[in-house]
Symmetry: C2
Subunit: 386 residues, 2 copies
């Protein structure tokens, strides 16, 4: 199979972009990625988007964004898998280039939460749950995560502030990321005093919905411009897996099967073992998701994922650095763009361009994009080539 | 590149399925395709859907349908490109198998219009137009098609009943299709007397929104079950192209660039010329779309596509048979499923299983799925192998 490299990356700041439209936001990220790639012209566009038909009244984003980016005529499509839409779009772009049918693919993640407010956002988010069995009962994604977190705390004797480490690490890492939504470190007391969103999930256990766009240019190594300057990063592994949307159908609600399966397949394809992974960009939409992801991938045994955070082992100098640029908690959660931000940040690390947040000698990065409570998981291993 | 065959096909009847849920409808088509494929187990699911987040309050269809079909764990994703969602899902499935990463892919098209009624359907459909420049002005897809048709009639001196042939052919071909929504032939007088929907589009110039699901199993030839019984059909060509959503940005609103580009690429890949195509499943959501598609692909010169219909050349025994199982007009238009129905019907023709509607010696079929006024076009050439 064809080797696929990530030639260009681009991102906008994550935040509340009331003043800029969906298509303009996407364009900013695309232009940055295009420039970063050395000017590669893509033949295909894969848009990762979660909720624009509801949030922005706009479907058919593929053609819309291709045209707005001056790429009229190329093939273009939207890829959706709830919160994993960004990772899923990356995978489709990867398959297109790997198939040999597409020389260069543009992957764009885009979401604009500020096109709607309050209950309308909740209603849109509820469409990602099982509408017939969960959403209809009022179980929105945050309430669903609260059920998981409560059960996890009960089964594993986790103290009230047991999850604080996830937020502390994320916000610490967000400080130096100029594209992060929040750039202020928080103290343990701040976590302790935080208001509840859906008990036991407090303000710091849930990532903020936000606007943002991120973009990647994928191609084959032999098609890179002759004057290509960036250290080269390739996609060494790519895999996805699905599970039930509704929790009641799971054998064990506290084990993210899809996170395990997809990460395992991606590592197998990359020919590496867990110890070789330099950092893990997990899907910390909720801190309980981060804990369960660490366990499913194998960085912690079942029930002990939270301890990695509590013992500072997910920090930049820890055993397995996570959320290295702030993660969803501090960088922000721009829905279908989140998985593409992970890739942009991982490439930044692997190129050695992560500045104050740089992981020394980063060679393999694992990024994992989840939809719902890991109803979808898409995992990629990115590798520095040298 | 790997050769990809369509091993299994399945479809539900198209119509108003008030009594059956979205997931049940999908399951019916999947089970039929699974059986037809000789029991192949897919590793990936590509769901073509246009509007379920709005119509059915349900996004994240990939994981939902994979689970409901007993395929929990496989990778699954939704592909959206407005009315071309079905064709786009087929293309993603094709790329996945062609890449060598997926042995067997399940492609499912699904839409359930009856989950909403009246103005709510119009509102959902409007999300496929340019929300900032067209939908906001109240220009819905039918009104947009009416502008095209009026201009076309003016420029080409088309008489009032000039488009009747498209509806007459479609309804004639729908009679023998047990999965069609309408199975009654109509007379020229019926077309002539039909009420206007959006002048000059009358009731017979627009395909009925409807519920339906269709499914395909794609695989490599060497992975077919040893007792595989169906005449073999392969995907000989696959291509897609995009254009502006809004009409005001087009150089020529009466030429479907994307239909030309994608069909041309697909034919080039298949190594065939236009004359070798036995039938054309066009995207007749509106009769004006059918006329413009015939011209863009090259079956008629510009401004004369309507004459092929008027002169009965698109009938089963005509120069280029179209809508051979009733097309969107008579079989019905189940949104994101429409492009998958085209593939199911084309395979039926190429296998020689089309009964009363059989095209003699059909060897190559062109299917084309459009999103908006050809803002997206996805074309596939299917080929009988023998």
């Amino acid at each position: 199979m064809t080797e696929v490299v990530i030639a260009g990356i681009g991102q906008t700041q994550v935040g509340e972009h009331w003043e800029i439209s969906l298509r303009d936001l996407a364009l900013d990220a695309i232009q940055a990625a295009h420039k970063d790639s050395g000017g590669l012209k893509p033949q295909a566009l894969f848009v990762g988007n979660m909720l624009a038909p509801n949030l922005s009244g706009q479907a058919h984003l593929g053609a819309l964004i291709a045209d707005y980016a001056g790429l009229t005529g190329i093939e273009a499509v939207t890829v959706e898998a709830a919160g994993a839409s960004g990772g899923a779009a990356l995978r489709q772009g990867y398959l297109a280039v790997a198939s040999g049918m597409v020389d260069a693919a543009l992957v764009v993640g885009i979401e604009k939460f500020t096109d709607k407010i309050g209950a309308m956002v909740d209603e849109a988010l509820a469409t990602t749950s099982d509408s017939d069995f969960e959403a209809v009962q009022g179980l929105n994604p945050t309430a669903q995560a609260a059920l998981l977190m409560r059960r996890y705390m009960h089964e594993n004797n986790v103290p009230a502030d047991g999850f604080a480490g996830f937020a502390l690490t994320a916000h610490m890492n967000g400080v130096a990321n100029k594209n992060a939504m929040f750039r202020k470190a928080i103290k343990p007391e701040t976590y302790h005093k935080a208001d509840m969103v859906s008990d036991p999930i407090n303000m710091f256990d849930v990532a903020p919905n936000a606007d943002g766009a991120a973009a990647l240019v994928l191609t084959r190594r032999d098609l890179l411009p002759s004057d290509y300057k960036n250290p080269l990063v390739k996609i060494a592994g790519s895999a996805a897996s699905s599970d039930t949307l509704a929790l009641h159908d799971r054998k064990d609600i506290l084990y993210f099967d899809t996170a395990q399966i997809s990460a395992g397949k991606a590592m197998k394809q990359a020919g590496i073992i867990l110890d070789q992974i330099s950092f893990f960009e997990y899907h910390d939409a909720f801190s309980i998701f981060a804990a369960l992801s660490l366990e499913a991938v194998g960085f912690a045994i079942k029930g002990k994922g939270w301890k990695l955070a509590a013992e500072n082992e997910i920090s930049l100098k820890g055993k397995i650095p996570c959320a290295t640029m702030g993660g969803m908690k501090a960088r922000g959660f721009p829905g279908g763009a989140a998985g593409v931000y992970q890739a942009v940040e991982a490439v930044t690390q692997l190129r050695g361009q992560a500045g104050a947040n740089q992981i020394a000698n980063a060679k393999f990065g694992l990024i994992q994009s989840l939809g719902g409570p890991a109803s979808t998981a898409v995992s990629h291993i990115l590798q520095r080539m040298d």
